[in-house]
Amino acid sequence: MHELGISRNIVAIVSDAAKGRRVCRVTLEIGRLSGVLTDAVAFCFDAVSQGTVVAGAALEIREIEGRARCAACGAEFPVPQLPAACTCGSRRSTLVAGEELNIKSMELEEVA
């Protein structure tokens, strides 16, 4: 359910940045370990953008795979899901990718 609030934040931030111009594309970066479902964000995005300059904009979501660095052996390894476990057996690691929840860019219609 938090994807609804997240989508509202996205629309609010993009609307502010657009300064009244129409937005035709929004590009997001969402990590697979961010705790946010991309499908749910896409679902909510259209609804919450109604009546704003973002209404009707295409939504592009770039998903980022999870990666962690092992605290024991120093290796960087893929983390398809939590918990992260290094092949060396250690459970101690730091996530280096996969927690992103960012707005990368938007495309605005040129003023004629």
């Binding site: 997240i6 594309r25 009546g51 704003t52 459970r91």
Partner: protein, 288 residues
């Protein structure tokens, strides 16, 4: 309730000061662009398919030339900035803030009631209660002897930094106090939202599954302490304490695990010891 996303635009977020009885509606500017009712008064019903590739199919053919604008902003930047402000505000006052989270019914309010009664002569405790509706828990806290503010989130599934800022305004917090922010009962959404706490406390009760830390890793991996509650019921349930502890440490290797029964009082000494060792950071604003 909206068919699209479960949002009820008529439901407001409110903060009720249980000392004064005054309630106020929180201004939620993030909700401003939210619109589900068409100008003619009909409710907007979402009917698009949202499968993979939908974004591409929705991209309108470029009849106009488009200007690409880099934004490079974290979606939760505003919440996180507000949370940092809450944390600094609390630290300046020497107040320790705990974010207390669990599934509904794990015993958050009961643990607090007992803690308030047992520590009333030692350390002033204040509670910010988060629930979708009712002031029931806030009233329980008041009856136990601590000042409380009840924040009702409407349909919201978690507290955010803005709601907590409004709630903190209502509490007259003295130096050395502990403010417990009892989040909405939910192991999913509250994990994502920093509210400005100094420590995260997650309760897991033995009437739940001992694999909960693996099922909800986002919640458990950021916890400072996991409280295994309702241990008086262990003889009657299949919950395996050793397995639950191993599961918690699988996602959070250094987490402190405390066993309690808020009902009988068993194990509460360890909880009070942990609380006693937890102090507000001096003036700084640590990232949590």
């Amino acid at each position: 309730m909206c068919e699209v996303c479960g949002c009820d635009s008529e439901t407001e977020t409110t903060a009720l000061n249980l000392q004064t009885g005054k309630a106020r509606v929180l201004e939620r500017d993030l909700h401003a662009p939210h619109e589900h009712v068409r100008p003619d008064g009909t409710r907007y019903v979402h009917s698009h398919a949202h499968g993979p590739g939908d974004a591409a199919s929705k991209a309108s053919p470029p009849q106009h030339s488009h200007e690409l604008v880099e934004i490079e902003t974290r979606v939760l930047a505003k919440n996180d900035a507000l949370a940092a402000r809450n944390r600094a505000w609390l630290a300046e006052r020497g107040v320790l803030a705990l974010n207390l989270m669990s599934a509904p019914g794990a015993g958050k309010t009961t643990l607090l009631e007992r803690t308030i009664r047992d520590l009333k002569d030692e350390r002033p405790l204040f509670v910010l209660e988060g629930d979708q509706a009712t002031a029931n828990d806030g009233e329980r806290i008041r009856a136990a002897g601590a000042p409380a503010v009840q924040v009702n989130t409407g349909t919201g599934c978690h507290l955010d930094a803005d709601m907590v800022a409004a709630g903190l305004d209502e509490l007259d917090l003295p130096a050395g106090a502990i403010v417990v922010i009892e989040n909405v009962g939910n192991l999913v959404c509250p994990a994502l939202f920093d509210v400005g706490e100094h420590r995260r406390v997650v309760i897991l009760s033995v009437t739940e599954g001992d694999d909960k830390p693996l099922k909800y890793p986002h919640m458990f991996r950021t916890a400072d302490v996991v409280v295994l509650n309702k241990i008086d019921l262990l003889p009657y349930v299949d919950f395996d304490v050793a397995r639950a502890t191993a599961n918690a440490r699988a996602v959070n290797p250094d987490v402190t695990v405390i066993h309690t029964s808020a009902r009988t009082g068993e194990g509460l000494d360890s909880w009070y010891e942990w609380l006693g060792e937890s102090t507000a950071p001096a003036g700084a604003t640590p990232a949590s």
